[in-house]
């Protein structure tokens, strides 16, 4: 039984981590990163060709975590697979011991390193959630019976800072209606705005896990502010970073991250920490938050 599910369903606060599979066949480093997180997080997201860049698949790495008794959240995107492949990968995932699945649309191929690839999007994220729920009920999308059924714990994503917010919430409701049982969010840097989002979705009674991306530099903040939807890193955080000498940046990053986590903690049911390579900071951040 998924510990992640158990915790969320019993109203406990969860901390999850994230690992991006490597571009190549050596997964030692990413398994090492998972080991570093093991004692601090309930589950670890494994990204699915993040940013549309070719890498090892999330299914394989999730399965490797299972072997090590670390709980994965298998990310599954609609970008590269039609409904046959998506359903088949879901059945494979269950057979490999994977219980938590995060259903995503996926970044468009032109954003990645195979810009000429055919974008599939045979299903969208709402339809994928519905397909996975249907498998849970022992049937496939064509209403054929399965000889045995999985019992996935299904999640989805939402962008709390999106403008306008209304279509995001409409879609969030649709995702809940077809089986999403938890939500992970886009990176949060403004706890007050996050609070107003939470107030809008409170009545939906679904656990929300706040996305936390470790901010590595002022330049990264400016880049995200200009290019990434739903993210606004406030001026004072940017200044805090730029006023910090390079050698102290990691320390500062950990401090800012811990502060944001403390601020969002009372508002939601968990945080999902995306370290973007600064994995070694995660244990320290969590220790500080839990102290």
């Amino acid at each position: 039984m998924s510990k992640f599910k158990e915790k969320l369903e019993s109203g406990k606060f969860v901390i999850t981590g994230e690992i991006g599979p490597p571009k190549g066949v050596n997964i030692e480093k990413c398994l090492h990163d998972a080991e570093l997180l093991r004692d601090y997080v309930t589950a670890i997201n494994i990204t699915d060709l993040q940013s549309a860049v070719l890498r090892i698949g999330s299914l394989a790495v999730s399965s490797k975590l299972i072997e090590r008794r670390i709980e994965p959240i298998f990310q599954l995107t609609c970008r590269d697979r039609n409904r046959l492949a998506l359903q088949s990968d879901l059945l494979s995932a269950w057979a490999l011991g994977i219980e938590n699945v995060l259903c995503l649309t996926g970044d468009h191929p032109t954003m990645g390193d195979h810009a000429e690839a055919k974008p599939v999007y045979d299903l969208d994220s709402v339809q994928l959630l519905k397909a996975a729920s249907t498998l849970n009920q022992g049937r496939d999308m064509s209403d054929h019976e399965l000889d045995s059924n999985p019992n996935f714990f299904l999640g989805a994503v939402v962008t709390p800072g999106a403008e306008p917010m209304e279509p995001q919430i409409i879609k969030m409701k649709k995702k809940i209606a077809v089986g999403a049982r938890f939500f992970q969010t886009q990176a949060i840097y403004e706890p007050d705005k996050f609070e107003s989002f939470i107030n809008q979705v409170k009545s939906l009674n679904v656990p929300v896990i706040a996305g936390i991306v470790i901010l590595k530099s002022a330049a990264m903040a400016k880049f995200m502010n200009e290019n990434v939807a739903g993210i606004t890193v406030p001026e004072d955080i940017i200044n805090e970073m730029s006023d910090t000498p390079k050698e102290d940046r990691k320390k500062k990053a950990a401090e800012i991250t811990a502060r944001i986590i403390r601020q969002v903690k009372p508002l939601c049911q968990g945080v999902h920490i995306m370290p973007l390579g600064w994995d070694e900071l995660v244990p320290e951040i969590i220790k500080e938050v839990e102290a």
Binding site: H108, V126, Q127, T159, V178, V228, A229
Partner: protein, 239 residues
């Protein structure tokens, strides 16, 4: 309309064998609107090829004015009768029109050798004389009833049917910040029309077998039949 754009001249030249006798054919409807195969464009192509040493035996844009090259009966009459003497000498036809036009010339010349002079790029609306853009991807299973008449298959870079991804910024698509997010347009219009509740509806995955190729349409009396891998669908105009 079918939007087309001429291929680079060097690519076209590369298709032709030395000494090959070429007849250039344009289209007075869509390709003319795209400035890829109208009368001036076809005449220019003939002289551009000649300037590069190609043996051009003739050119034509089948008339009457505004007619589509893909109307087989007319194209056949023009190429076999009106231009019959010249087309008989041709080893091949260079088509300045869409892919349907290419095949029409093949049919009209009883299996003549054809070269594509254009890339066929999309089906679009002629918004102005200088601008054509795409609003439909010809999916065979139209859902715009639920999206205020705006097609998410076409206007959303990911063809999402149940609402936006989280990536739009300032109303622009995450895939191309110079382009409107299709779902922002749909949301705005539904809201303006007071029909935002339509966005709550779960839209089923597309029946891609209606999007299978090749598809056909047969008209018989008061009935029309659409044939695809989804099976035959016959609609009566009188019930």
């Amino acid at each position: 309309m079918h939007a087309t754009i001429q291929k680079p001249i060097d690519e076209i030249i590369g298709y032709l064998d030395p000494g090959e006798k070429v007849f250039v054919v344009g289209c007075d409807n869509c390709a003319a609107k795209c400035h890829s195969g109208g009368i001036p464009d076809t005449q220019e192509m003939a002289s551009r090829l000649e300037k590069r040493g190609v043996n051009v035996v003739g050119w034509c844009v089948p008339q009457p004015k505004g007619i589509s090259l893909c109307k087989l009966a007319n194209t056949k009459k023009v190429l076999q009768e009106e231009y019959g003497e010249v087309t008989k000498q041709a080893d091949s036809f260079l088509i300045l029109a869409c892919g349907q036009g290419i095949h029409t010339v093949m049919d009209a010349t009883d299996g003549g050798m054809v070269h594509a002079g254009c890339d066929t790029i999309f089906g679009g609306e002629t918004v102005t004389d200088d601008f054509i853009t795409e609003y439909c991807s010809l999916c065979g299973d139209c859902i715009v009833e639920y999206t205020a008449g705006l097609c998410p298959v076409t206007l959303c870079a990911k063809s999402l049917l149940n609402g936006p991804c989280g990536g739009a910024k300032n109303g622009k698509c995450e895939v191309d910040r110079n382009r409107d997010c299709g779902w922002q347009l749909i949301y705005d219009r539904l809201k303006e029309l007071g029909q935002l509740d339509k966005m709550d509806k779960y839209i089923m995955p597309k029946n891609n077998s209606r999007w299978s190729r090749p598809r056909s349409l047969t008209m018989a009396g008061t009935e029309v039949t659409f044939r695809s891998l989804a099976g035959d669908v016959t609609i009566s105009r009188q019930d």
